[in-house]
Symmetry: C2
Subunit: 214 residues, 2 copies
Amino acid sequence: MAPPDGDDLDARIGAALARISLAARHLLQRSASTVQLSPMQALILERLARQGPAGVGDLAATLAVRPPTVSDSLDALERRGLLRRTTDDEDARRVVVRLTVRGRRLAAELALWPDLLAGAVSRLSRADREALLRVLLTIVAELVARGVVYEARMCTTCDYFRPFAHRGWPAPHHCALLDAPLADAALRLDCPDHRPLDRDGLVRRLPVLQQGAP
Amino acid sequence: MAPPDGDDLDARIGAALARISLAARHLLQRSASTVQLSPMQALILERLARQGPAGVGDLAATLAVRPPTVSDSLDALERRGLLRRTTDDEDARRVVVRLTVRGRRLAAELALWPDLLAGAVSRLSRADREALLRVLLTIVAELVARGVVYEARMCTTCDYFRPFAHRGWPAPHHCALLDAPLADAALRLDCPDHRPLDRDGLVRRLPVLQQGAP
DNA sequence: GCCGATTATTAGGAGTCCTAACCAATGGCC
DNA sequence: GGCCATTGGTTAGGACTCCTAATAATCGGC
């Protein structure tokens, strides 16, 4: 007999993720178009609403596109009065992008998009969902380590984060800043108090995150 | 104390999936550009290589875009001699799109893209990966049921598929066509012998797929 | 044999996304 | 103090994406 080998399994996972990505693209497009926005414009608005003002380069990095692409979209958004460009006091080269009130209001309407995607897990058990979150965050961390995307503020790349610091369930991890245990379900992708781990620390840490299927 | 509620957990999952989708987009773009193709062109080539000739409408449905978008890309691909459009004998309205030899060759080079995405699971344990595949396929099935994407040939929407037909591990499911048990790792997203389940059957089936975290 | 539904294309328009070239400010460095 | 490579952003130009609306051709039923 020929049991499916590891590569095959991985290939199926890749295909499934690709499929979900296609759906995500479509959901983003649809969600954005309900408020007359293009997908990239929606992503920019979302990011600004979630994490506050940012430079053009920052936006480009987190959205995995080149600066000119962002600059294009900013023109359109600024024309509609959804944001303003100001130059940084400390560094006159930098441009700081800020939402206007109108922009913030529109972003709030838009926020429902990732929820549409999340809605597709509604039938999964709580245990499955917690495991899923842990696994997805591990994948994101790996993608960050490989330089595919840039994610500034997630637990798995934070210096305060101690994976599997506690032996038992239900809260195996620990946050050294809050000095509190963390469950898988509490892991954050976007923590305001994040302190980045250097690349060596990141690579060293990744393997340990693999353990512990519930 | 305020334990994270279900919505919060789901929101984090949604955010993580959104993040991975961004990475997927970027990987696709990069992979496609190495052979001078645009993302959409790459997707079309890939789909044709994997599942054979198709009509314009079919392509549009599986790629979650409108027919004119596909038609645009087909023009570019045909110009480069990677595919040919012919009219169907049985229905002169239909256009059948076929890869040329050159197209097939290029598609083979391209096939490595989903593997780049899959590479990000390399550090996960085998058990985690099997569970991940099962969960992801459930998500895809749910997205199909909600009409977000269209996936013609996956086990979870197949009439021959009997989820959890066997009580024990490691092969709980069953394929009535092959008359053989199936493990989570063997679940297919793209089976050539697929027979579609009607929508009622699909909705009825979904809940049962949630059970069984390993 | 006509009419509504289906299938694909064309037209037109805003946006995406890249590379290359450019400009301006910064922060050493001598 | 003045040079200059680096950094942050924008402009220019070009191919492609992706939509809606309108058009053309064919199919199927009645």
